[in-house]
Amino acid sequence: MGRIITLKKPVAITTHSCVGGKKEGQGPLGEYFDIISEDNYFGQESWEKAETEMLKRSFYTILKKRDIKPQDIDVALGGDLCNQITSTAFCYRDIPVPFLGLYGACSAMAESMVIGACLINSGGVDNALCSASSHFATAERQFRTPLDYGGKRTPTAQWTVTGAAHALLEREGKGPFITRVMFGRIADLGIKDANNMGAAMAPAAATTLKEFFTLSGEKVENYDAIYTGDLGQVGTDLLKQLLMHENIELTNHKDCGLIIFDRESQQVQAGASGCGCSGCVLSSHILPQLEAGNLHRILFMATGALLSPTTTMQQESIPGIAHLVEIVAEKE
């Protein structure tokens, strides 16, 4: 009791949506996005406005799919990578929904789903709209250098996804269903290289998984797939090695950061990253497979690197976090 939260009644993920940019449209999942914009400005005059517009398009898509109005939503939860999570807040400023902004860096999708499922489980709300978004251009200028600055990316660097995703959790409805959730603990094994996020976040993913397996008695093979958010190739290799030391062999692991782009042809170095990465892969790839019956039982674990440009410049190491959501296709 306490660490792993078993929901009294499985919470349904009734509807989901995702919107992506041009590069995402050219990737392996491109055709499964609800909307792909060839214009990464999304018709706006600044990158920040573009990210908000992208979120709005995803929001109105999910309303249309579920045939509901903003007033029907009990609470909206979500986060992004911009300072003071403005992209998400600005998305809802003209929309009358109760809003709770979250910051967990790239773990935003899992973080909002964990909290949303708990709120429904508590009986307080009947539904919760979870979201995550990131934009390559806003993240670059927030964390790195201007877009047109001529720099060379290191082989361990990851490419921030331009994408926004929503998932509507409901007390009643058709699945897939969330059955158990777990809040992650912060893990920091001293990585200071902001161009190696996978390495910074792998210990958090390993910590959460190890704790979940130990406390629940579940085994890796009880799941069709275990998805992490955006560890990329370097983080994936490290996660497997870390768990090997704990006698856990991760045979069915998939990383969203290695699914959304074709690493070789799209030149994204170690893979993809950003809040939108796990969000869009969840909506365009994981949930549809659960709905189609190709997957039956999975773990979804988005990882976040809790750094800021200031802490990087002050030579601080990067704390990582990973929240876990257990999703099943049918109620057991």
Partner: protein
Amino acid sequence: MKINKKEYSYMVEQASPPSHLGKNCLWAFIIGGSICTLGEWLYKFYKNIGFIMSDARLMASISLVGLAAVLTGLGWYSRLAKKAGAGTLVPITGFANAVVSPAMEFRAEGLITGTGTKMFIIAGPVIVYGILASVVYGLILFFISPMGR
């Protein structure tokens, strides 16, 4: 976790692919060399059309800076830099790119509070320490060289 920070640091080193040093150096040499050759050609061109040596050198630098600024504006410089690395960073063109790219990027925050404030965000330290170094070298030269020379 059973792994400590030191062991993990070793694991990360092993798992992180290194940069292709040879390939990167070759590209830097070819593109960086080409930029410098262009500079040399420009210097000779300006000298041929009648500039004195010091002015011709200045004109060559100005031309390269102007060219790099235009290429940055068109979004081509960063594409070239993706391949060239230090080859586009080290020549004077890299300095122009470092000033123009933030100037463009932060235009959304206004001409004064955006472009004006953030323009030197990358090149600023180069200017500060460049000037400091020239003051130090100037002082050294002043004290070691005989007066009046």
